[in-house]
Amino acid sequence: MKITFPHMGNTYICAKALLDDLGIEYLIPPFNSKKTLEIGTKYAPEFACLPLKINLGNFLQAYEMGADTILITGGCGPCRFGYYGEMHREILRDIGCEMDVITLEWPDKGAGEFLHRIRKLTGKLNPYRILKAVREAATTAMQADDLERLANRVRPRELQRGTTDRIYKAFLNLVKKADGSAGIKKLIRDTAGELLSIETDMDFRPLRVGIVGEIYSTIDPYTNLNISSRLGSMGIEADRRVTVSGWIIEHMIKKALRLPRDLSYADAAKPYLGAMIGGHAQETVGHTVMYARDGYDGVIQIYPLTCMPEIVAQSILPSVEKDFDIPVLTLIMDEMTGEAGYQTRLEAFGDLLKKRRERGVYGKTVALSGG
């Protein structure tokens, strides 16, 4: 059995830590690329959301390299993501690609089925070792997210443009060769040291933009055309509250153990969106409010075309925009998204934010068109 899993930004770091520690044989699919998307788009239903297409591409690329089992997480609605496993099973079956799909979720059949799936994955490992590996994987994910955050902070302030990206990209490739959670953590520490030694402009006060939206497209740099790096190189600091580790800890571990979760975003979203409607709609609205309160200069919402919960959030965001006087840009991604149009919109948004800040300094007499 050779396991593979879909890419979503830095998720592979956490998955690698877990599978390395458990001693399970696995294969990391090639990083998301145009080819991945092309393969996925070819076989996926036309109106399926972008993550499904990219995931399918991941699996087929991994299949060619010898993987035979897919490990994914699931859910039970109302977002489409909960049915990804079944869709993949059907699609792979129709194109004659024999892969087994193991969905890590609480099945309808109850605990027995869940244990059966775990056993299928881990064989006869002792439960203590499994729990330890899960804990190590969760802390690895947290540290990887911290590193990404650090990179996002350093990038707009670096004196030599591109230094952060070079170091961070090298790290992403090196992780593949690291051994187990311990090896990955050491690599993260080393990379953090390198990032901290980059020469930066200490006095520079970058514009700050919050990234909100659907989890996959905000986290995965291929899907969002590397937005934090694009913004960083314009001297804008990007922040994102939805992270891989946050998702694992808040959404999976705490929910399974019924521990109290951090629901500050739900409180913030309350006046606008009164209920959980699935996906990350409530997070999107809530985080936008929180960014506005924290004095951010703007918010960018990103989601894949036809994403149901984010369409709800998008219709609500103009009210938040008005109430808190914070500009919101919505970017919708699909396989047709062109890089140039995207870059233009980001630059225009950056200019708008810059002018708004200047207006704050010089007073409202400066005409926006006058430069």
Binding site: P78, Y83, Y272
Partner: protein, 330 residues
């Protein structure tokens, strides 16, 4: 004077109107329904709504605009779930918030949450919540609700017997012309609001009828029949519509009398993107039944749709009559 409550003739109107109507009328309110969907309503909706929303949601906005100046309050419930352990599209769950934040100058909105995910009994809680705007007496609300449920059951029975909501509500069903041909059995799968709104689907059902076809909709199949089939799925479908559509398709596969299946979906529908694909895969894999997907949005032209429909029907008829005379290569 009694309060007028506005119900947009859109989305779940086609599923629950008899329930809502009886309930509010029993409580002494005057129920006003928006006009039939028209080009104007559609355009108004498209203009006010975010571009990415699907056609039904855009039309819903149009209907709200049509109503807003002539009622005291609007009934836009928050539908989280209408059946145990199942959801519906997230857009239904956020509908009152979307409408409130998109349109201005609205009258009061009754945004009762309907959430039957945990238990079907929660419907009564929703009724109390919606009813409290009209009547303080809980027993009275309960009575109105019971009566409304009776009406709803009767309506469901009528649907199951093959009546269409248009015939039931408007009581002036145009009779289809008698025709010499043998009637075909065409199953039409789609969301209620696409299937029963004559403007949206460009009179699809009527057109099918006049080309001499018996229509079979998901509403004409019993829950037991559907559930028996959906139990075969490896993972439970967690959308109410999805379960019913897939179950119905699996049932149709086994029936020998189905001549064709039409799936009507709106562009960008998240639920249908998966459900339609699953249905199509099953039908193509396990049967020879012709399958047609019609995707509609605000740009759909009637001529194109007619052409596809006619071609589909012709193909089925030819198949019945001249299959043996045709060479295998077409």
């Amino acid at each position: 004077m009694s309060i007028t409550i506005g119900i947009p003739r859109s989305l779940y109107y086609y599923k629950f109107y008899p329930l809502w109507n009886t309930f509010f009328e029993e409580l002494g309110a005057k129920v006003v329904v928006s006009d039939h969907t028209s080009k104007y309503i559609l355009d108004q909706g498209v203009k006010s709504c975010v571009d990415e929303a699907c056609l039904p949601v855009k039309i819903f906005h149009g209907h709200v605009l049509n109503l807003k100046d002539r009622v005291d309050c609007l009934f836009i419930p928050r539908f989280t779930s209408i059946s145990k352990n199942e959801y519906i599209c997230p857009k239904f769950g956020g509908l009152p918030d979307v409408v409130r934040n998109t349109l201005s100058g609205l009258p009061a909105v009754i945004d009762t949450e309907v959430n039957l995910r945990k238990s079907g009994k929660n419907a009564l809680l929703a009724a109390y919540d919606a009813g409290k705007h009209f009547c303080a007496d809980k027993r009275h609300i309960r009575k109105a609700f019971d009566k409304a449920v009776m009406c709803y059951r009767q309506y469901k029975k009528q649907l199951m017997d093959g009546k269409l909501p248009g015939d039931i509500f408007d009581k002036k069903a145009p009779k289809s012309k008698a025709h010499g041909a043998k009637p075909l059995n065409i199953a039409v799968i789609g969301h209620e609001y696409n299937l029963y709104d004559r403007y949206v689907n460009m009179n699809l059902l009527q057109k099918l009828k006049s080309s001499v076809a018996n229509i079979i909709t998901v509403d004409m199949l019993s829950e037991e029949l559907i559930n028996e089939k959906t139990r075969q799925l490896p993972k439970r479908m967690f959308w109410n519509f999805g379960r019913r559509a897939v179950g119905a398709a699996l049932h149709l596969l086994e029936r020998k009398d189905i001549d064709g299946v039409i799936f009507i979906m709106s562009f960008g529908c998240g639920v249908d993107s998966f459900v339609c694909d699953l249905v199509e895969r099953r039908i193509r894999r396990e049967s020879m039944i012709p399958f047609l997907v019609l995707t509609i949005d605000e740009h759909s032209g009637e001529a194109g749709m007619d052409t596809r429909l006619e071609a589909f029907i012709d193909m089925i008829r030819w198949r019945c009559s001249c299959e043996n005379n045709l060479p295998a290569y077409g």
